[in-house]
Symmetry: C2
Subunit: 409 residues, 2 copies
């Protein structure tokens, strides 16, 4: 491990500041807008939802990340997702960027926009504009300002999610800090994952995107709360170069150090999302080892972590290994069920549940004890090779149903 | 409609009889074995789970249906699924067929076997054998005997599921009767769909399998309770020719009449499974119309009916159209979200919710009224062509979580 975990978030890297406000989009005076600003332009990378139905800010940001290549600010509102809002909604997104650009005296094409909340409602543009104008003079580079921004993007998240690390690159200290929000809702119409990662590393745009795209596959893309891929999912990574390291322009040692640190940030944020899934009582981690290929391990681990029956069993602290084998079987990946070993592991211990496809005659009592921890891991060994993958999810609870069935108030 | 719905089930076609018993596999003296017998050999067709993990009886039946081609009896137990039981479990399956063959004085290669219940436990072979011997002398061709068999294969199903129709073919009355069980469990380790359809039609084995395979695609395969494909799913179709119609050997009018009647049986059974899904309070039907291809309509409708967020909204009687559009968007099918119209329909009326991708400004009150019925339909028009598909599922409820989280007792 070449990086060092520090206290902080999006404001930890040099040159980044943040602000937040209660613009009146959410009810009850909760903060619902966040602004992150870099004092110099950043190279920008992004990954976006694969949903055919894309929210307006996703389209806006894709244009900036793919075509404009640099950015200097991210403005985010919670409460309304600005998805399924047609040309009117896209207009409000552009207007938000325009207002933000004016308040910060930068180009509107360097303002990234994100929204999370109810699908299908139009944004209250006047409140949003007033929110931006209120935030601009409040921008601060303190850890607290970053933390408040992380809180402002929450919907039914129960915990703010942020993390920061330092890593030595070219004898300079490079800092990476990120925040995100998970699957939660104030209104039962939405499920959005948003991640914002800032760094003061000097790195080419091409390698920044490459690092993000590669890391996403092993981190955010391995999370499933309920199998529903949102219309708004966005992860943005901005690098402003203020750490003063020699610019990373090839996949050398510096790139590796940066990648490892970034991957830690993303893994940490991904686990925080899984562990705070709607209504959940436990983080459920699934490792598939001994796979023939990475792809096979990914398919198998995601199938297990997405299975409603398995998730309900985890909630019940029940070592329902049949459901796990079943979920592997319908995943689409080929393997020999008669060779599979399965373990459950947590802070309370590790137990072999099945060996070569049949029960080991394990103690149900011990298994239940292991599964009663707030973080539990299932490890499936398919004994076909050396590839592996880890997926994160959570249990399926009564509270999940309550959150998502309650009539919109 | 060329067929007539009659009161009955598997014993309705000529020559079929049934029996059931409490063999002591389930607790509390509930019936847990069923036997269906044809007095003459039948051509047999079958469709089976696509899960890589296949229960022993699935392997046994596949061999008979694919290689032996005829069958004369089906023996089914509930309580234990005989899945993930290795060579020992396959031996018990073969032993069950052997005991049944002896009791009925037929070849063991003409006995189809099915199991449903807990995964990973071995069958109590002595009780099973005693059950078979008890049932053989009790075989009766009465409607009641068929109904009792339909009850004996239930696990946590709350309703027995059977249906029968008559159809005129070649101036003879052909009868088709079926029973099935849905997703339910006495032990939270299993989810199995079993369907048994009997007919006295004279029809070639090739066309019988063709009719079943085609009909399955539009009926049983369009049901999703929780997205978990079982290790035991099996639908068997036996035809004994006793109706005396000219044997159907080509895809003529007679085949069409038979197919329509069979398809009604399968549709009816599939809807019964969906409407009795674990913990459910409503049957949720999803029609995708105006699709470019049947395949596209199938992908879209199944994605909607499988979405946890949508299912929870149906439970809450909430017209959460954003979730439906979201589920269509991540389905993998291409379409233009800005052209979609969406309706909700039930016995309480029909309401257009979105037009060209945006809200119609519908009345939430009226929508909630429509969604409060025990059978609700969502209709999505993607306006790309003439193809359509219908999928069936149910709402996601607190009771579903309870059933599947409760520690195995």
């Amino acid at each position: 491990m070449s990086y060092k975990i520090i206290d902080g978030g999006v404001t930890s890297p040099k040159g980044f500041s943040a602000a937040s406000t209660a613009a009146g989009i959410k009810k009850e005076g909760r903060t619902d807008m966040a602004l992150v600003y870099s004092e110099v332009p950043c190279v920008a990378a992004g990954t976006f939802t694969t949903n055919v139905v894309k929210a307006a800010p996703v389209k806006w940001d894709q244009d900036i990340v793919y075509n404009k290549l640099t950015a200097q600010a991210v403005v985010c509102n919670s409460g309304i997702a600005n998805a399924c809002t047609g040309t009117e909604g896209y207009g409000y997104c552009a207007e938000t960027a325009k207002v933000t650009a004016k308040a910060l005296n930068i180009s509107e094409e360097s303002v990234l926009v994100a929204s999370t909340g109810v699908i299908g409602q139009q944004l209250p543009m006047e409140r949003l504009a007033a929110g931006v104008e209120a935030m601009a003079p409040l921008l601060k580079d303190t850890t607290e300002a970053g933390t408040e921004a992380a809180k402002a993007i929450m919907t039914t998240d129960t915990k703010k999610k942020e993390v920061a690390v330092e890593v030595e690159i070219g004898q300079k200290t490079v800092t990476i800090g990120g925040m995100c929000k998970g699957s939660g809702m104030i209104h039962p119409n939405m499920c959005t994952m948003l991640g914002f990662v800032m760094t003061d590393a000097a790195i080419s745009r091409k390698l920044l995107q490459k690092a993000l795209s590669a890391s996403i596959e092993d981190t955010f893309n391995m999370v499933s709360i309920d199998g529903d891929t949102s219309t708004n999912d966005t992860v943005l990574l901005l690098a402003n170069g203020m750490a003063g390291n020699p610019e990373i322009t090839e996949e050398n040692e510096d790139y590796q150090a940066f990648y490892e640190a970034l991957n830690y940030i993303n893994t940490c944020l991904a686990r925080k999302i899984a562990g705070d899934g709607e209504g959940c009582t436990a983080l459920f981690e699934v490792k598939v080892i001994g796979a023939e290929s990475k792809e096979q391990a990914v398919i198998l681990s995601k199938s297990i972590v997405t299975s409603s029956l398995t998730k309900a069993a985890i909630y019940g602290h029940d070592a329902n290994w049949g459901r796990i084998l079943c979920a592997m079987g319908y995943s689409g990946a080929q393997f020999d069920p008669d060779k599979v070993d399965l373990y459950f592991e947590s802070a309370a211990g590790k137990l072999k549940i099945i060996e070569n496809g049949v029960s080991t005659g394990y103690s149900e009592e011990v298994a239940t004890k292991i599964l009663s921890e707030p973080e539990v891991t299932a490890i499936a060994d398919v004994k076909m090779g050396d590839a592996q993958a880890t997926a994160w999810g959570c249990d399926l609870t009564h509270e999940y149903v309550s959150i998502n069935a309650d009539y919109r108030s």
